[in-house]
Symmetry: C2
Subunit: 320 residues, 2 copies
């Protein structure tokens, strides 16, 4: 498999459809980059673009996006509910396939360096790409937003990681980061007892002592008449789906509750599925080939992970 | 059940047997306090005492211990490999039964207040009883030890939580804290493959994304010819034994490795066992009475948790 990253640039225009189209047009008809979708929010006045592709091709596409945004967006005239500090506010790189987090940190640094030197837009590296503790969380960097950044960036402790300590007058500054892929995963529990389902959530979520990269809570699905443990998995390598699924089944067992199915909301990398399918294939002595097709991944995911409503267009690699 | 705490005072004498006996004698023949054991270490020149009992009776006993240590120990003459800042160096309170952590924090504060006002020995509250972030970890407080504390305690940021900012000339200062009971727990894996056993440890330990209050690693037992996942469980309420045991079994299943037994090293509170036995009794539809006897706890622990070499004198409540 080739190196694949996800990149989710957020830009500060969510109302003017013509402008939005002109900006996202840079991602259309590219050879090694695919725009999965883009979602504009009028209240936020912000658009979130989801890209996947070969890392250096993604970086090229981002460079083109910066050029268009420079023309299209003047942050001095921007209002919206979402905090922002740049015409493109954030550019996170996410490892998908054959790519390490370290490489994504490198892509973030390369991107930040190129943008700052070509367009005179200061860049801060954040999350896994942060160069100091207090720059890990983006809100720390963004505090004060575009308007406050004019002075903040002059303070030695808030000099940008790339570029001069002076904001771009219309573009502002950008946060360029690297982080893990986030999987939205829900497990169906055939009960209406939200309290017990809440206990299962507590057993597995980090905030109450469970797995470190799992956020979870109970939810009652009125249409379906049963509850779910609804989750974000922030690191599927360290907290694989199968372990979470089996642990929830273990907990539900004490109340003889059925756990017949689960679902993925949005996208999931093939690797995250294969890593978990490997567990079941080991247990049931089934072969799992290294170059398993997406069709077979779907079949095994339905069989072992009990994923419902699951088709191959939920797997990132389908789009490449 | 009555309120029971564990208290583990460490005092700075580990060589002079007569002195050690005179100090621990305050814990003998008490009605509501039982000394489980005391271990003197000559290299450390330090003795660790394990007490359990009714909280206020424990506090009374500790007050008597302070009085004896004042006479017996002069820290100006003390040398040893273990860092120390007081003739009694630390006094941690640990909830065992019918006692909350909040109550243990209160016991720590009461003890610190009484010692400082009666004997003019400054006290720092630490761990769960810490009043500020940098006093949570005892080594932060103790840094500089008895000798350095003479000046350190005068700095406003290192004023003691109780008493004057001046060390007792022969006793020094004491750290009085509250923390959770630590269970030393090992799961036998019938393999010599330390790497795979290491992967099971990784699956469950906090440092690699697993359960938040579990420290774990692999170990090969030469005498027995197989490996173990060896663990400390820092919070058995949030990370109950059954969940850890079942998760390790789940992981071992993929390699068809047998997990026939487990062991508790040292002591375990009855509550920690009952909490886990409740899980299996739920699963297997077995009654578990609220006032289950220690004999029955032992039987069920052997049956379900597969504890080997397990007798009731491993359960704290046995000593009361």
């Amino acid at each position: 498999m080739a190196k694949i990253v996800e990149c989710v640039p957020n830009f500060s225009e969510g109302r003017d459809k013509a402008k939005i189209e002109r900006i996202v047009s840079v991602f259309k008809n590219l050879d090694n980059v695919k725009m999965i979708n883009y979602e504009a929010d009028a209240d936020y006045n912000r658009t979130v673009v989801t890209l996947i592709g070969e890392p250096y091709s993604v970086i090229e596409a981002i460079m083109n996006m910066v050029e268009v945004c420079l023309k299209e967006i003047d942050l001095n005239k921007h209002t919206g509910e979402h905090a922002r500090m740049g015409a493109i506010d954030v550019i996170p790189f996410i490892p998908i396939s054959e790519v390490t987090m370290k490489e994504c940190v490198e892509y973030a640094n390369i991107t930040a360096e190129r943008i700052s030197s070509k367009y005179d837009i200061p860049c801060f590296t954040y999350a896994e790409a942060a160069k100091e503790e207090k720059r890990v969380l983006l809100p720390n960097i963004r505090k004060g937003e575009f308007e406050g950044m004019k002075e903040k960036i002059k303070l030695p402790e808030w000099h940008p990681d790339y570029g001069k300590p002076e904001i771009h007058p219309t573009f502002g500054v950008i946060g360029v980061g690297a982080r893990d892929f986030l999987i939205a995963y829900n497990i169906d529990i055939l009960t209406t007892d939200e309290k017990k389902t809440g206990n299962f959530a507590k057993a597995i979520r980090a905030s109450s002592g469970g797995f470190q990269y799992v956020q979870a809570g109970p939810v009652y699905l009125e249409n379906k008449g049963h509850t779910q443990v609804t989750m974000n998995i922030l690191n599927f390598k360290k907290n694989p789906i199968y372990r979470i699924f089996e642990t929830v089944k273990m907990e539900a067992k004490r109340y003889s509750m059925e756990v017949p199915s689960a679902e993925i909301v949005g996208l999931i990398p093939k690797e995250a599925l294969v890593k978990s399918l490997k567990y079941y294939c080991d247990v049931f002595n089934e072969e799992l080939s290294d170059d398993i097709s997406l069709d077979d991944v779907v079949k095994l995911s339905q069989k072992y992970l009990k994923l419902r409503d699951f088709t191959k267009d939920k797997i990132i690699e389908y789009f490449l």
